[in-house]
Symmetry: D2
Subunit: 340 residues, 4 copies
């Protein structure tokens, strides 16, 4: 059995990792840590885990963590990962980082968007962007995988099939995103408390969200020319789920069947992508507590434009479950193990 | 005291009308009707009204309604209004219709979008579109006011200032709308029940929503050339509030201060419009249970584009309170009476 | 593989049965039916099932259902079960009925509380009340199991350990229950629509809820003398979860450790019951999407009373998952199969 | 015009006070303070107030506050009020304290339940408990009013009429309370964040909530003998509203009409109490954003018991609006001014 460590086990992503990995048939939870007031059994912190797992969770002791594990998930804030990932890597461990620290190829862009200088830029070239639908072969051989952000996962999966055939107009693709609140993390901040969020819709960080550079990097790699986006994220009062509604212009006329065909062909062997029949739109609950991404589309012929709607569970395909999919690939397991 | 009738008093809009008009200083609730199982006092149906109003509410008896009232609000489904409005008009009553029946100037477009032939097209020319910020002078003299739809109110108020100066690109303005559930009406339909809606985000009627023709009609009148939109409405789990996030392209470069200036100038005397400082985005709760529309904006200079965010309470400025504003104007009252 | 039929597959309970049984390792979904407008694949009705199950769902054709299955779950309204259960039984099939039709031992009490005459009272003696913690041995041999109601499951499991030792005062045990909205069923009724339920707390059927007779029947069997309860259910705005807060008087002084000991002893071998440490209270999310019942308690010494708090997922231990637990027992599978 | 000060204007109660007092016809908002990062206009902090009020809000400067105001509302945490109230009182100002500091008559009981020694016990005798339905005459003459807690308001109003005639059994009255989340305050605490609260029901502080002593003090004064209660509060996922479900035993048989009569007689002149017809239960939304308390009841004859259900808006009658009612009484205004 592979021995698993989770660093940052008490955030929403960490919690989801614990729940999913508890039921995974060929791995064993071996080490947990988190910033907590005092070390205690994880099932004391989350009573829903009673009977499923019996492990202490306290401050990270990195030597113990290295000794106990074969592979570690870093579910910690950005800047923390770049401190600790190198130590696990040096000890020969596989690392799946769920922070933003290793997603960007360019340390300067990291500094611009995250406001801090990158401390281990030398690791960026070896880090593989963990979107299996695009980088499966690289993930197989990777020691360090940078698990994608939640918004980028939904957006990139929703647009990738349009990278072929020269149809898409790469300027100013419009992305209107709506997310549930677990996406904001498990932190005691005033704007996150129930009565501030409930019965409210809020747009935030218009064209300033740090996920923009990640989206642009990946779309540009796909299309092989500069892609720019307009990105407006919104928070709405629910726990889980992301819907991105994307408005794409085309360079040439496209038919519904051609459009659907692009998607079905691109994702023909993908176990976690669902392409809906033309005109059907997915809802976030279609993918609740799963690793699926579900995509619907509709053309506006007169405008040579389409609306693409992509949904994921922000803690599922948008974080923890995609990380488990990456683990399965990195370790040579069946890719869907523990995820279906 | 003006005597008020509300036809359709038990829907969400009707209920809001009753609540607002109960507290209005110069009118008197005189007649209520609704499709109900049996006639009973409105405060039996809505216990929150106990002590505020004491009137029976049963099936519409039109002669009684005519006798009892000076002005009537029709808070009924479309197709019903065009049956009953003519009778009130003929009797010399003022009519504020909250259905879609008299909003469109062209009976053929009505038929195309609402799927039924208009029965009283001869009334369309005299009906005034009840958006006071655009048509105040006409509303003053109107006998029949067509109260705007909820989405169109938020959208048109959000875009109207851009109609001047030739800046706006009128092709394919993108409108991504999010609404609370009272917008769907008080009807026993499966997709509306709590556990279907809660913890879910849903897009619907992509580029097919019946409010599109109303938006296009009014924007075209404003800009004086054909305006086309791409419109995607979404339902999110809250009771009240609409946010529309609009993506506008410009023909020429525009600065933030110029943009804000357009809005502040256009609405300089408007009591119910709030233009936020540049870069600040409104939230739906800023306008909860009010007649305000609050508008924020942000430019993407490299794209010659802007994001405009407009919020209203769908039952407030989006329906009942705007109807009361129209009543105030039609009857020569101070326009803000009962609304601040 | 055992072949499974679900009659009533599109209600919330039916849907949960489908989801749980899809992942069950030793059974095979073989037949689905429901009252639907037209027959279609279940994964068309519930897109979350795409890739998990591929079966049509249309009106019940009982002969086909009999032919296709070894065991059937009846997730239908009361009165429907007593029509169709006999046919499955006669054909030698095992039946797990999730309606109220076979829970009560006395047909007159059924008639009093449900307002209809029982049509197959002769089956009542053979029906086993499907609460494994109390009737495991009988369930093993049963052909017809009456799956308990959601409130009764939470209440009976919360009080059963007090049946021993003569401590409990059986008069007027007070039960204050709070439920999520899936408990009300997937039906297009006005009081169930989102904006009626959201932002509201409602008590209903005070001392008149039909689950009272089921609770009293079972508590009386346990204590072996007449038990009477005061029962007030409330609906609160969430999808899933029941909390019952029970106020129990004692005939003699009892200590915290004695009280906890009753519970730990009574449930010492139960895989789905969690007894919390003294003074800790469970939350509904501790048991979300599980078959667990979690119980906390606290004594008021001066009052010779205790507060017992019991939580379940109304669709889990309160309906579908408990039904699967019953299936496992009836079929000789490991009891926790597909449930942990 | 009376000049009003609000100390603690940015909590939920403070915010509600601002909103209600803005619309009050005979007072003028003159001074606001709160613990904020920097002083700014209150309408910057709460955009919903734009156009309604134009006042800065920064740290409390007590001399300025004294100079600017005739009457102050203290919407601050307990222990803060007892520091600052004396200064306002000494300067001859009227004080309405919304904290717990002056509600209890006995400083030792305060210390026991709130865990701190009272600093100004000499003020307790002059403080009037601000429940107008019980203490109107004293409030008229008071300089210092202790505005009741939210739970106590709902409970005491729900039980007060039973204090007469010797019917009620005063031992162990059972009170099961459910509250919306604004009752927990506007504080950045982990258990208050949206995803912790949403989709969950939680009981807390069973028989240990600090409002218990306030309830027992007032019920004991009313009944004129020792009253004891069992009190279990619960949080449910909504913003506003408290429902208390109370289980009362009687010493002698009582009829429905007698019971209702007690309530209607006791509250016959009260403008903010609604007694519902026998068997009808109130919902929290009946009193949303109002100063009403609505009470329903049902007898269990065989148990000589009744269920009393009392609802208030925790920020309305449970805090800010009741404080305004107290102000009206203290200042000789019409009692309902600004509240209907």
């Amino acid at each position: 059995m592979f021995k698993i460590g989770i660093i940052g086990a008490t955030g929403y992503t960490g919690q989801e990792l614990v729940e999913v990995l508890c039921e995974h048939p060929v791995v064993k939870m071996a080490y947990l840590s988190a910033k907590v007031e005092k070390e205690q059994n994880i099932s004391k912190i989350f009573p829903s885990l009673v009977g499923k797992i019996d492990l202490p969770c306290g401050d990270l002791k990195i030597n113990e963590a290295i000794k106990a594990t074969d592979i570690v998930f870093l579910a910690v804030p950005h800047t923390v990962s770049m401190e600790i990932a190198p130590k696990f890597l040096k000890a020969g461990k596989k690392v799946i980082d769920l922070s933003a620290d290793f997603r960007l190829k360019n340390a300067k862009i990291y500094q611009k968007w995250y406001g801090v200088k990158h401390k281990t830029p030398q690791l960026l070239p070896q880090a593989v962007y963990g979107l299996p639908e695009l980088y499966r072969e690289k993930i197989k051989k990777a020691q360090l995988v940078a698990n994608p952000g939640c918004y980028p996962t939904a957006v990139i999966l929703g647009l990738a099939p349009l990278s072929e055939g020269g149809y898409i107009n790469c300027d100013n693709i419009i992305i209107d995103a709506k997310t549930g609140m677990t996406g904001a993390g498990r932190k005691p901040l005033l704007p996150l408390i129930f009565s501030e969020v409930n019965e409210n819709i809020k747009a935030y960080k218009i064209n300033e969200h740090q996920h923009m550079c990640e989206i642009e990097q990946e779309l540009t790699r796909l299309v092989k020319k500069k892609v720019s986006i307009i990105f407006v994220p919104h928070v709405v009062p629910l726990n889980r789920g992301i819907m991105v509604t994307m408005y794409v212009k085309f360079r040439k006329q496209i038919t519904p069947s051609k459009l659907i065909d692009f998607y079905k062909t691109f994702y023909r062997n993908e176990p976690f992508i669902r392409i809906l029949d033309y005109g059907i739109t997915p809802q976030t609950k279609d993918v609740d507590k799963t690793n699926y991404c579900s995509i619907g589309m509709k053309i506006d012929e007169k405008a040579k434009a389409a609306v693409i709607v992509s949904v994921i569970d922000n803690l599922g395909k948008g974080a923890a479950r995609q990380a488990v999919q990456n683990m399965n690939i990195m370790c040579g397991f069946i890719e869907t193990l523990g995820l279906k």
